[in-house]
């Protein structure tokens, strides 16, 4: 039963992150997503410190606001200070992450959050954090939180589809029909922050980046249109979660990291197969040209 909850958590993280990751990578904001996943650390540390709980909803939203703040800081450095994109991202997330590590170190006595967890999460402990209603056991809290998060994320991708599509593909045209790209940017970043905070205890700050970018990148390689790309992303995310869990059981290695490695292996396989088929087509064509001569 514990195994079941671990796999469900992995799938929920992969689907939540993948749906948002599709738009992140299309906007060229994959590293912004990575930055947010680091930047929420001080928020999470402060949330633990003040509430003493991992899953107080208000505190989690507070922590997600830190991610949103990071998105704002990055834009501020870009627009007002006119710093280049990569440096704006780098300065913002390293500073916020450093602040988070200092907070955790300073109050390590008060915070039940060690740095290993920050590194690669502790998905194996997910089944232990249960929610009870009266005498009934409702299952692990992270599953409920991530499942709950899927509602706004799926709603954003479904109902915000056109807004996200048009502002991602052609922001200039979007402005022309009166749609502000900035609003959609912050909406997406807000959803990413919330998702990252909720995924944090399961997969940690760094691996969440793999769930945000690798399945969408794999789907991008083989998709001609956006809707199929979203479905492929979900499929690759689920395969990574399940496959990673099985691999981790066999090799007795870290579960969430194994999931990320499987997603990377999937990417590599698709990438190499596509290259090979392209090379073969080129070879065929040149042989054809040769015989014509």
């Amino acid at each position: 039963m514990n195994d079941f909850w671990i796999v469900v958590t992995g799938i929920l993280v992969a689907v939540n992150c993948g749906l948002l990751g599709v738009f992140l990578i299309l906007r060229g904001a994959a590293m912004t997503g990575d930055a947010l996943s680091h930047a929420v650390l001080p928020g999470i540390a402060a949330a633990y410190l003040l509430s003493g709980s991992r899953h107080s909803a208000v505190m989690l939203i507070g922590a997600a606001l830190t991610g949103w703040l990071a998105a704002y800081l990055i834009e501020w450095l870009k627009k007002k200070i006119r710093l280049q994109n990569d440096a704006s991202i780098g300065i913002t997330f390293t500073f916020l992450f450093a602040t988070g590590v200092i907070l955790i170190s300073a109050f390590s006595g008060n915070i039940d959050l060690d740095l290993d967890c920050v590194l690669y999460g502790d998905i194996a402990y997910v089944p232990l954090e249960r929610i009870y209603a009266g005498s009934g056991d409702l299952g692990p809290a992270p599953v409920w939180l991530l499942g709950g998060n899927l509602v706004p994320v799926a709603a954003l991708v479904t109902f915000g589809y056109r807004g996200l599509l048009v502002t991602t593909f052609d922001p200039g045209f979007a402005r022309g029909i009166g749609i502000a790209s900035g609003g959609w940017h912050y909406l997406l970043m807000g959803a990413v922050s919330l998702t990252v905070v909720l995924s944090f205890s399961a997969v940690g700050a760094i691996l969440v980046t793999a769930f945000l970018t690798v399945p969408p990148a794999t789907a991008y390689l083989i998709s001609k249109r956006l809707v199929p790309m979203i479905w492929w992303t979900v499929l690759f995310g689920v395969i990574s979660a399940v496959g990673g869990f099985i691999a981790a059981l066999r090799l007795d290695t870290a579960i969430s990291a194994s999931m990320a490695v499987v997603s990377g292996a999937l990417f590599a396989a698709v990438f190499i197969l596509l290259r090979l088929s392209k090379l073969r087509k080129q070879a065929d064509r040149s042989r054809l040209n040769f015989s014509r001569k």
């Binding site: 990578i25 060229g28 904001a29 994959a30 590293m31 997503g33 990575d34 680091h38 450095l77 007002k80 200070i81 006119r82 710093l83 280049q84 990569d86 440096a87 780098g90 300065i91 997330f93 390293t94 500073f95 992450f97 450093a98 602040t99 590590v101 200092i102 170190s105 300073a106 390590s108 740095l115 290993d116 590194l119 690669y120 760094i206 691996l207 980046t209 793999a210 945000l212 970018t213 690798v214 969408p216 990148a217 991008y220 390689l221 090799l251 007795d252 290695t253 870290a254 969430s256 990291a257 194994s258 999931m259 990320a260 490695v261 997603s263 990377g264 990417f267 990438f271 596509l274 290259r275």
Partner: protein, 317 residues
Amino acid sequence: MTFHANFIWVIAGCALIGAGASLAGNFAFLRKRSLIGDAVAHALLPGVVIGYLISGEKSLWMLFPGALAAGWLSLLTIEGITAFSKLKSDTAIASVLSVFFAAGIVLLTYVQQLPEGNHAGLDAFLFGKAAAMLPGDLYLFAAVDAVLVGVIWLLYPYLKLFCFDPEFAAATGLPMRALSFILSTLTVLAVAAGIQAVGVVLMAALLITPAAAGRYLSKRLSGMIAVSVVLGTLSAVLGTAVSYSAPAMPTGPWIVVTVTFFAVFAFLFAPEKGLFPLMLRKKRGVSSNAGKESTATPSGSEHNRLKIRGEKPTRHE
């Protein structure tokens, strides 16, 4: 403040790391490839673990080659993905960063099962543990810094042109691939050397932040390098000192906070390009030459240009 016995060489070591990283970071910054340094830092992990598996030792000298190899492999992977697919470079960077790092953790957890696994300290590799520095490590830092300074000194005019105007540099027949290779190697060297002291994520800050501050305080490349190296070194020293003043304080994060403080100060108050002087000038400019063309403020494109002086090779016509 209690001084540990090793305080002096820890501070010296951090200063050497700070100087080396900020020196290499200038070129990554100018090529808008700052985040690649971040990716390389994460991607070192599997190399380090494999180095440990092979050598069975935790000595920095033993882990260094593995780190270099992994760093290089990650760079090649990023370049391969961007060259052979339509994926944007930031997607390639984020994917490589996270998957390499995940592979490192998988290996690490695998090592931890081994009976002889004296693995403690490997996680510290990621967050940095300046206090674990050995006197012998200083030689490595010094050697890396010497290589960095030597290569950059020798190739300075070419590197300058390469970063300033790559198309023109290519037209003059400079070996672009070789220069790109050399600059990337310098970044990997600086990161691989310093990672144990300041940690993965925070290594990125030493590459990016001093260079950005230098960019705002100087118009010329030589000035930018000088300013950033001074800031990087100073922040390393101050950050180390602060972290030693309280128990259980990590060194890397304090270095990052210090260097960010300096950089933000530069962004806001740099005499020519800082936000406040710029705003002030704008106000004055608008009131004094309303209607006329004002030329005082740098526009976006000029703003991102470095003045290039001296050794501009003649154009082949």
